[in-house]
């Protein structure tokens, strides 16, 4: 996390952090809840009055009392990050009431899978080129000194190894172009997978 600027990042997600404390104006949460903004208001540092939408959306999805409890359970230096992640989740849930953040996880996991397959295809191509290149130079040297039967045998075995390489290439290409659809995860399948094996985060991208 980059703490030297007003922007903190979750990877490419950029969320502005407002660290304004309680001033003469009640914070956004106390304004919305129509209550007096006390000096020790737990929301005030993270929900400034000039950004009412931020608290409104968190309150809509999580509820003020739940957010308050969550913040109270955290050390002070982690509360800003917690608020920002709650805001992110709340926004995701309002945009997509069915899947919320899980939709984004599903999308990213599919991207990872696709990129891994494309990488496999490219690496297989390099291997094929290497295999075609080295045996070709050697076998052509030997061809000039062998009789017809030996030439035919060598060319046949050379073609077999190239064909095997091409078969692997075709399989990898088919997977990357989505022809083998079973490799792509939907949000539902991600939820089912994770419900069976709760929150092994590494399984999301292996």
């Amino acid at each position: 996390m980059d703490k030297t600027s007003n922007f903190e990042t979750y990877g490419e997600i950029v969320i502005k952090v407002d660290m304004g404390g309680p001033g003469s104006s009640p914070c956004a949460s106390c304004k919305l809840l129509r209550r007096r903004c006390a000096k020790e208001c737990i929301f005030a540092p993270y929900f400034p009055p000039d950004d009412p939408h931020k608290f409104a959306i968190v309150h809509k999805v999580f509820g003020a009392s739940n957010v308050s409890k969550m913040l109270q359970e955290l050390p002070v230096h982690q509360r800003a990050d917690a608020v920002n992640s709650l805001v992110f989740e709340a926004n995701a849930r309002v945009r997509d009431p069915v899947y919320g953040c899980v939709g984004a996880i599903s999308y990213l996991q599919n991207q990872v899978t696709q990129l891994q397959m494309q990488l496999a295809v490219a690496q297989t191509e390099i291997l094929c080129i290497q295999m075609q290149h080295e045996p070709t130079l050697q076998s052509h040297h030997e061809v000039f000194e062998l009789d017809q039967d030996d030439k035919a045998h060598l060319l046949h075995s050379n073609n077999n190894s190239i064909n095997n390489c091409n078969n692997n290439y075709n399989l990898a290409y088919a997977m990357s172009s989505g022809q083998l659809n079973s490799n792509f995860a939907s949000p539902s399948s991600i939820i089912q997978m994770q419900m069976q094996d709760p929150l092994k985060q590494e399984s999301l991208w292996t």
């Binding site: 997600i13 809509k60 955290l74 992640s85 899980v102 996880i105 990213l108 490219a122 419900m195």
Partner: protein, 131 residues
């Protein structure tokens, strides 16, 4: 779709058990929070609250409610395991992985072009010798 219909038996659903109330025949939670999974509702209630979950369920179409509940349960569990970042932590990790793979794919494609052009150069030189 897992529909326990526990409200039709004597057993209240996990939500009504937790909230200590009568589980009626039109209980919105009953199809999605069976009594044998008490932790699922307890987690969701702790993070989102029963009334917020009820509102979300009423907002989505009936055929999407199971997925909505399961995604809420997933997020709630993630938040309980990681109170600071919840499932946003997983998103961050995945985004970094995507960037890493994109860079690696770019480098591999550059290598591939280099190999292909080297092979093209050697073949034509060899062809010249044979000719």
């Amino acid at each position: 779709m897992s529909s326990s219909y526990s409200n039709y038996t004597n057993s209240p659903c996990a939500a009504c058990k937790f909230l200590r109330r009568k589980c009626t025949s039109d209980c919105v939670f009953a199809p999605y929070f069976p009594p044998e999974e008490p932790l699922k509702f307890a987690n969701v209630h702790r993070i989102f609250g029963a009334s917020n979950v009820s509102k979300i369920l009423h907002e989505v179409a009936p055929h999407q409610r199971e997925d909505a509940v399961n995604s809420l349960a997933y997020e709630a569990e993630a938040r309980l395991k990681d109170p600071v970042y919840g499932c946003v932590g997983a998103i961050s990790v995945l985004q970094r992985e995507v960037l890493r793979l994109q860079r690696e794919l770019e480098e591999t494609n550059v290598d591939l072009m280099r190999y292909a052009s080297c092979l093209g150069g050697e073949t034509s030189a060899y062809g010249g010798r044979r000719g």
